[in-house]
């Protein structure tokens, strides 16, 4: 005990005689006064020092408790060379040859308002080097209103900051329920993260949505009722789309007739995972169903004035999507996933019924012998009428969303040093003509090099 006490005194003496304390002491400490403990004639007594130390520890704890903000972010710089031959079937093709450098920046801020209430946000920017003022929604007619909101900062429009994420989340104490409202993280879901060598980053699989949606979500976690290593979450998401006059908020939007100001879309998703399987470290099985009625597509050009035939069209439709993924198969760093999306829609008043499938296969293998270099491969296959909300992509090539398409993608990624990931890859895509929104066929290829900094 004697040794321990002496050691404690030695440590305390060292701390209390540090410059910080000395400065603090000179500002606030009272003149020394004799106490029951042994006092130094020139300074505070030991118990005064201990009291001061207690205050300082309390100060640190209080500062820690009051620290409610967490900041992180990402910066990506990318080079891509795209060559795309496109044109109407049977006609001469136009050759596009682009090789821009681009960048993306995202600043994430999370606020722990209370133990249960959290607020998450991302401020983003993407641009091509030394290029400003682009607008990818210009040619989309009324659909531009959807496209712009779902694209967020990923439209490579320039250096202005756009809010990609802003939502509040409330987690209940007594029940495993989370409610959330706002602009949600509905992009960059699995397996897109694996191309960059990262763990899961988005709420929905990238082949369900890869766009930013606003809405209200409820997540119920059944995991506590399951055996260890199993998780099961039921996610519901309500996405109200708004049709409103673009210049006057007191007026409805018009396309031949007044459009309903709100079109509702609903999503139900089962999100199951299991860790520590006999043959793999993790399994993910995700099944999603989304549906909507009288959704105004509004795609083509200018809207018709009141009383004229509508220029755009409306649809009733649904999505069914599936994701099955295995990670670290055989404990050798092998990941595999299969994603599928079945889009069905009936165009109101036209008699056109759409029913299409798309499939995405992703395989990647982290090679320990090559300093954890990851080699990956993706294969995509889609049918006519295929539709994926794919608005937050980084690549130039339209790899993941064209109709009647078959494509392959090879990529390599590596953690170059802590927080820096390098990725290079090659895409090849052939797409036939689709419906009225994709009249051209195309043959495209691109290769890219990307470096990602997380901070």
């Amino acid at each position: 005990m004697k040794t321990t006490t002496q050691l404690a005194l030695l440590v305390l003496t060292a701390i209390l005689s540090s410059p910080a304390f000395a400065q603090d002491k000179s500002a606030t400490a009272a003149p020394p006064a004799p106490t029951t403990a042994t006092a130094s004639p020139a300074g505070p007594t030991v118990d005064e020092k201990l009291e001061k130390l207690s205050e300082r520890i309390l100060e640190l704890e209080a500062q820690n408790q009051l620290n409610k903000v967490r900041i992180s972010g990402v910066f990506i710089s990318r080079y891509e060379h795209l060559i795309n031959l496109h044109g109407l079937p049977g006609a001469d093709k136009t050759r596009e040859d682009l090789s821009p450098l681009s960048m993306h920046y995202g600043l994430d801020m999370a606020f722990d308002a209370t133990k249960n209430l959290k607020f998450y946000s991302t401020l983003g920017m993407s641009k091509f080097f030394n290029n400003e003022g682009r607008n990818e929604s210009l040619s989309a007619g009324y659909y531009a209103t959807y496209q712009a909101t779902e694209t967020g900062s990923y439209g490579f429009s320039g250096s202005q900051v756009i809010v990609d994420r802003a939502y509040a989340s409330y987690e209940f104490d007594d029940t495993p329920l989370t409610l959330a409202v706002g602009r949600m993280p509905t992009n960059y879901g699995p397996p897109a993260n694996q191309i960059d060598g990262l763990p899961r980053q988005g709420t929905y699989p990238r082949f369900s949505f890869n766009s930013i949606f606003d809405g209200l979500a409820a997540v119920y976690d059944f995991s506590s009722k399951l055996p260890v290593d199993h998780t099961l979450k039921l996610r519901t998401f309500y996405q109200p789309f708004t049709n409103i006059d673009q210049a006057d908020r007191t007026k409805q939007a018009v396309d031949g007739q007044q459009l309903p100001s709100r079109t509702d879309q609903y999503v139900v998703m089962m999100d199951y995972s299991k860790q520590n399987l006999s043959f793999a470290e993790r399994l993910d099985l995700i099944v999603m169903h989304a549906w909507w009625k009288e959704f105004y597509d509004g795609y083509s050009g200018a809207q018709a004035p009141l009383g004229s035939p509508p220029a755009g069209e409306s649809e009733n439709g649904s999505d069914n999507s599936y994701y099955l993924g295995f990670e670290n198969i055989g404990d050798v760093g092998l990941n595999m996933s299969w994603s599928a999306l079945n889009y069905k829609a009936s165009i109101i008043g036209s008699g056109v019924d759409k029913d299409s499938w798309g499939h995405l296969l992703n395989i990647n293998y982290k090679i320990a012998a090559l300093d954890n270099l990851t080699i990956g491969y993706e294969h995509i296959s889609t049918q006519k009428y295929f539709y994926l909300d794919e608005w937050t992509r980084m690549n130039l090539i339209p790899f993941y969303y064209l109709q009647s398409a078959t494509g392959n993608h090879i990529y390599f990624n590596k953690l170059l040093t802590k927080k820096i990931i390098g990725t290079i890859g090659y895409y090849y895509l052939e797409a036939g003509a689709g419906d009225i929104y994709q009249p051209e066929e195309s043959n495209a290829q691109s290769w890219y090099a990307q470096i990602r900094f997380d901070f």
């Binding site: 005990m1 004697k2 006490t5 404690a8 005194l9 029951t36 403990a37 042994t38 030991v46 118990d47 201990l50 009291e51 130390l53 207690s54 520890i57 309390l58 704890e61 820690n64 408790q65 967490r70 992180s72 994430d108 999370a110 959290k118 998450y120 994420r165 939502y167 989340s169 987690e171 495993p176 989370t178 959330a180 949600m184 993280p185 960059y188 990262l198 763990p199 899961r200 980053q201 988005g202 709420t203 979500a217 997540v219 976690d221 979450k233 996610r235 997380d454």
Partner: protein, 79 residues
């Protein structure tokens, strides 16, 4: 007598209602994952590794693999 005073004061400090901090959390993670005590000499390095990482990954501290303790950041909605 002096010794009793020191012990009394230290007990007051140490017995105050403290909040679970990173030290306790990292120690518990190592205990839960590897059933061993984290040596004090490894504590600082372990805290930095366990919190300065990518959420959703694993990190190795003191020869023990634990989950990254950095919070999710809200990219996946829900607990």
């Amino acid at each position: 007598m002096k010794r009793l005073i020191y012990i009394a004061i230290l007990s007051t400090i140490l017995g105050a209602p403290a909040y679970a901090g990173k030290v306790d959390t990292v120690k518990k993670a190592v205990k839960d994952s590897c059933n061993k005590e984290l040596p004090d000499s490894d504590l600082m390095e372990a805290i930095v590794k366990a919190y300065d990482c990518t959420a959703g990954t694993s990190v190795k501290v003191a020869d023990c693999k634990i989950s990254c303790l950095k919070e999710n950041g809200g990219f996946v909605v829900g607990k």
